[in-house]
């Protein structure tokens, strides 16, 4: 009941939906960057939404299965092969005992997700199997997968009922997305011109981006009274702007508190799309109200329920 890691890929981690209730001790929630893609992968193979799977970054792993399972790959557009034969993404398919699954390099998007029926059964830490690299906990000893790791699996659960995502619901990641964001908490520390820049100009993602935060460059976002504040809590998606007036979007593995101004916050339902941006790709921030964001969130959740045919 294990999967052997023949080749790990550059950064492949075990994730479930994350670790709740530990912000106050300094632990972020972690979990998948692209939550919807992750949940869909789990549903395709008949798992609970919170079952642990793999998040692959740019390049996926090569895995040898000890017993028969159903698997599904979602997220970034990656080539998937089973014993050398091409397999569809966003679709569940069976792997026989001894089968070798390979996930290749992302053609668009960054993070792909592998769900395995029965889930990955590494020991939960503080209620979650999610890997938090900076805190060295969760997953396999708090680190990314390595060649030779055995991945324990949960009990096999048989064939899934619905196995395919509707074609029109498969996202594409190559364009310049418009990302909903809400002003605050420290928008009063920025000039009108600074706020206008954030919402009118495109921002290009920099290579120094990871699960902690995505760094961007673009039009300067001007402060009125400096960039230091009394340290406060950092919400998921906070758009932190420091000295040079460039934005950093803080993500699932962010520090829980910090002392820099946050002009706005990317909406929760957009975090996955930010996580699929490649360095050099651009986005635009679109200002929305809290009420509008709640309506969009409800619509996105409803859409997720009908994604699988």
């Amino acid at each position: 009941m294990t999967v052997l890691v023949q080749d790990a890929g550059p950064l492949t981690t075990v994730q479930d939906l994350g670790r709740m209730g530990q912000l106050r001790v300094g632990l972020p929630r972690s979990g998948p960057m692209d939550r919807d893609a992750f949940v869909i992968a789990n549903r395709l193979v008949g798992n609970d939404d919170d079952s642990a799977g793999l998040e692959c970054t740019l390049m996926g792993p090569r895995l040898e299965f000890a017993d028969a399972r159903w698997v599904a790959v979602t997220g970034a557009d990656v080539p998937v092969t089973l014993d050398g034969a091409a397999q569809p993404a966003w679709t569940a398919f069976p792997v026989s005992a001894g089968g070798v699954l390979k996930i290749g390099a992302a053609r668009s998007g960054v993070r792909s997700y592998l769900a395995i029926s029965g889930g990955i059964d590494t020991p939960p830490v503080l209620g979650s199997r999610s890997t938090y690299l900076r805190g060295a906990l969760g997953g396999i000893d708090g680190r990314a997968l390595r060649k030779g790791d055995p991945l324990p699996l949960g009990r096999s659960i048989g064939a899934p009922a619905a196995r395919r995502v509707r074609a029109e619901r498969i996202p594409t990641y190559g364009d310049e997305p418009s990302i909903d964001a809400i002003l605050g908490p420290q928008d009063d520390r920025f000039s009108a011109a600074g706020i206008a820049a954030l919402f009118d100009e495109p921002y290009e993602m920099l290579p120094q981006s990871d699960r902690m935060g995505a760094r961007f460059k673009g039009a300067r976002i001007e402060h009125t009274r400096g960039h230091d504040i009394i340290s406060d809590g950092i919400a998921l998606g906070a758009i932190q702007v420091i000295g040079e007036g460039q934005p950093i979007v803080l993500l699932v593995d962010r520090q829980t508190a910090g002392g820099y101004t946050k002009i706005g916050t990317v909406c929760s339902y957009e975090i996955g799309r930010v996580g699929q941006l490649k360095p050099g790709q651009r986005l635009r921030f679109r200002q929305v109200t809290v009420a509008a964001a709640h309506a969009t969130l409800a619509a996105r959740r409803a859409a997720l329920e009908t994604a699988i045919a």
Binding site: M20, L23, G26, V125, P185, S231, G233, G237, H294, L297
Partner: protein, 241 residues
């Protein structure tokens, strides 16, 4: 100043920051912790998680269960009641600390910068009570003040890239204990053998917001003995309330 009414600052579609003051003070922090305490006691529906800091409480909520206006209405009511007296008594935590030498590798430089003898820095530092405002940045790291004024010191000009876990350090008016190995811009005066962050423990952070901390100076042999007990899971700090 403590605001007459708290400010509600949206932090995206799932969180709001309740800011009670524009200052770092025991009073402001006590109100934040009292608000968090009341939210937990009254079990406000739709609130999923809270994160206290110096003068603000970050409140996560589920918009399908509670809308923004209903949430801020409920929080405004609780904030009016959130006085320091509602909190249970603070815990007092005694942490052993080995000052100077190899473990407190910046004690002498800090003393020179402050124009004090190293023994005097140790005496002053260990003679004070420190208030834990909140825990965070890295897991288990306490944000503390309470230092005697004579120990106020500018942060290092060139931050270290690695500071060992357990390093007891000072910078500005703050005292900090590095909970995991991390970069740092504070002066390291000593090291505690206590483990501030233990992901395997039921409560992974040794310290909690609202705690009072006092350091007990120890020598290297006692440090090594306690460190061995900590590694074997046989040691707990002295905690009273």
């Amino acid at each position: 100043m403590i605001y007459p009414e708290p400010r509600f600052l949206p932090c995206g579609d799932l969180a709001v920051s309740v800011e009670v003051a524009d200052e770092i003070s025991l009073e402001a922090n006590a109100r934040v912790l009292a608000l968090e305490y009341l939210i937990r006691e009254r079990r406000v529906p739709g609130i999923t998680e809270t994160l206290p800091t110096y003068r603000a409480l970050l409140v996560y909520y589920e918009p399908a269960e509670i809308g923004f206006d209903a949430l801020t209405g409920a929080l405004r009511g609780l904030a009016a009641e959130a006085r320091p007296e509602v909190l249970p008594p603070a815990r007092h935590v005694e942490l052993p600390c080995c000052y100077g030498g190899e473990l407190g590798f910046e004690l002498e430089a800090a003393a020179a910068k402050l124009g004090l003898a190293p023994e005097e820095v140790t005496r002053l530092h260990a003679g004070a009570d420190y208030h834990v405002y909140f825990v965070g940045f890295t897991p288990g790291l306490p944000y503390m003040t309470g230092m005697p004024e004579r120990l106020n010191i500018p942060r290092l000009v060139n931050p270290r890239t690695r500071t060992p876990a357990g390093s007891v350090s000072i910078g500005g008016i703050q005292c900090c204990i590095y909970s995991v190995e991390s970069p740092g811009g504070f002066w390291v005066l000593g090291r505690t053998p206590a483990r501030l962050y233990d992901p395997a423990a039921a409560e992974p952070s040794l310290l909690r917001a609202g705690d009072t901390v006092r350091f007990r100076p120890i020598g290297r042999p006692e440090f090594d003995a306690i460190a061995a007990d900590v590694a074997a899971g046989r040691w707990r700090p002295r905690i009273s309330s």
